[in-house]
């Protein structure tokens, strides 16, 4: 099997089995970002609380989750917990591991976003009679979200690739399926390149999505938008 095989490369480039794996990777990413962001938001708000009994657990959580490798966390969830009678399937273990891990990182991003909304905005919202929840919902969160889009985009890009770690616990995402196919014809270089191309396509597509989101949420802040209308 020496040399480069174009036929094998093109065959796998359009292989349905691999394409499915790529969709699984995409699904894992969307799930862990969406739920990680929700959990991360809760952790961020707890962390910013004046009450120690809220902020301390939040700090402890991020300390553990960011201080240990995702790989170790996944192995503990999938192969360690059954020892205590807690059993998860491969998919469940992957979703739980990715989401819990990502939530810790996203909570720090959310925290920075919330802290970046000027204090005067909070006062203005309180002054018209908003409850703390309404202040967050209508004034702070929308402004914080716009601020965190770029670092959030970084996270999405990162998670797209980090999902490959789940191949270790036999999660059938893109990398795992690539490795399975390698066992058939040993086209190592061709297959890994195909996998790399799939990852590149997904991260590139995300760049466009991110740019759209940034435009969507940046409209109110676009200096040109107003001038055209005003003059």
């Amino acid at each position: 099997m020496k040399g480069w095989h174009w036929d094998g490369f093109f065959e796998y480039l359009t292989n349905g089995y691999l394409l499915e794996g790529a969709f699984v990777t995409l699904g894992l990413t969307v799930f862990s970002i969406v739920f990680g962001l929700m959990l991360g938001f809760v952790i961020a708000v707890m962390r910013m609380s004046e009450h120690k009994f809220l902020s301390a657990p939040a700090y402890f959580y991020t300390w553990i989750m960011r201080g240990t490798p995702l790989l170790v966390q996944l192995i503990i969830i999938y192969t360690g917990l059954p020892q205590l009678g807690i059993k998860f399937t491969v998919l469940e273990s992957t979703l739980i591991g990715l989401t819990l891990n990502e939530a810790a990182y996203l909570s720090e991003i959310v925290r920075a976003g919330i802290a970046a909304v000027p204090r005067g905005q909070v006062n203005a919202a309180r002054a018209i009679g908003m409850t703390p929840f309404q202040v967050m919902r209508y004034v702070v969160a929308p402004q914080a979200f716009r601020i965190i889009i770029p670092p959030l985009g970084n996270s999405v890009n990162g998670v797209l690739k980090t999902t490959s770690i789940a191949s270790i616990i036999s999660m059938e995402e893109l990398l795992r399926r690539t490795q399975v196919l390698i066992q058939e014809r040993f086209l190592v270089l061709e297959l890994f390149l195909v996998a790399a191309i799939y990852y590149l396509i997904m991260t590139t597509a995300w760049e466009f999505v991110q740019r759209w989101i940034e435009r969507r949420f940046g409209r109110a802040y676009d200096p040109k938008a107003g001038l055209v209308e005003q003059r």
């Binding site: 203005a124 018209i128 009679g129 949420f217 109110a220 200096p223």
Partner: protein, 253 residues
């Protein structure tokens, strides 16, 4: 033009013996001010005198250490007060406008009406349109704050506060962040409001405004209320040396 005579009823805003510290530093010392319905009270004093802190205590944006503050007879300064409800009854205008940048002008005027007062969309919109017309901003309803001048933003901020049908208005240095040519347009709106009988407490250095519409001037220095006198008397014959010094500094040009 003088302001309509205030009633003798209990004060609309009542600040009694308020003390407040930032760490070891005392920003407010035994401050007491009462603003009756229909009254306009201007609070002035050198920077760092505590006037901005005092006005923020009225609707509990800043907590006090001790003392009592009442809005329309209702206590603000006990832990059990329904602060969102009390705040919704008092409008506040800030030095830096603080319009919500992610909302259009119209949304800025409607969000409090809809979410806090639970008014319907149509009703809120009608009220907003009416107030925008009143502050001369009707043509700008669909714009975002960042596309407007400081003077325009502040007029909208006043309209946003009025949209809540407040029983009194607090102004915290409303013209201090404005370019000189925009101060008049904001003061015009405030003067009109005062002449319509709105109860107002105004922290400002605009002595022309004070002369024109204020019933009383409260002069603060180093956390203390040094004078609380009828407007005419404050300008003609200030009692304290500190007020004389302050007036000589800001009226010398």
């Amino acid at each position: 033009m003088t302001h309509p005579t205030p009633t003798d009823a209990a004060p609309m805003l009542d600040i009694r013996a308020v003390n407040k510290h930032y760490g070891a530093f005392q920003v407010l010392k035994q401050c007491s001010v009462a603003v009756k319905a229909g009254e306009v009270v201007v609070v002035c004093g050198p920077s760092g005198s505590g006037k901005s802190t005092l006005i923020k205590c009225v609707n509990a944006l800043e907590p006090v250490d001790d003392g009592e503050i009442r809005i329309d007879g209702q206590l603000v300064t006990d832990g059990k007060a329904d602060l969102p409800r009390l705040r919704s009854r008092v409008g506040m205008v800030f030095q830096h406008f603080e319009l919500f940048p992610h909302m259009t002008v119209l949304e800025n005027l409607c969000v409090g009406q809809e979410k806090v007062l639970k008014r319907g969309r149509e009703e809120a919109r009608k009220k907003a349109d009416m107030l925008l017309a009143r502050v001369g901003m009707a043509a700008h309803a669909g714009k975002y704050p960042m596309h407007l001048s400081g003077g325009q933003q502040q007029r909208i901020a006043i309209a946003r506060a009025l949209a809540m049908d407040p029983i009194a208005m607090l102004f915290d240095e409303p013209t201090s962040a404005l370019d000189p040519e925009m101060i008049t347009e904001v003061l015009d709106v405030m003067v009109a409001l005062a002449q319509e009988g709105m109860t107002m407490m105004v922290v400002t250095h605009e002595m022309g405004f004070a002369r024109k519409v204020a019933n009383r001037v409260v002069f603060m220095d180093r956390g203390e209320i040094v004078e609380d006198t009828p407007t005419q008397m404050f300008f003609d014959a200030p009692k304290s040396d500190r007020a004389k010094l302050f007036l000589s500094k800001i009226l010398s040009h």
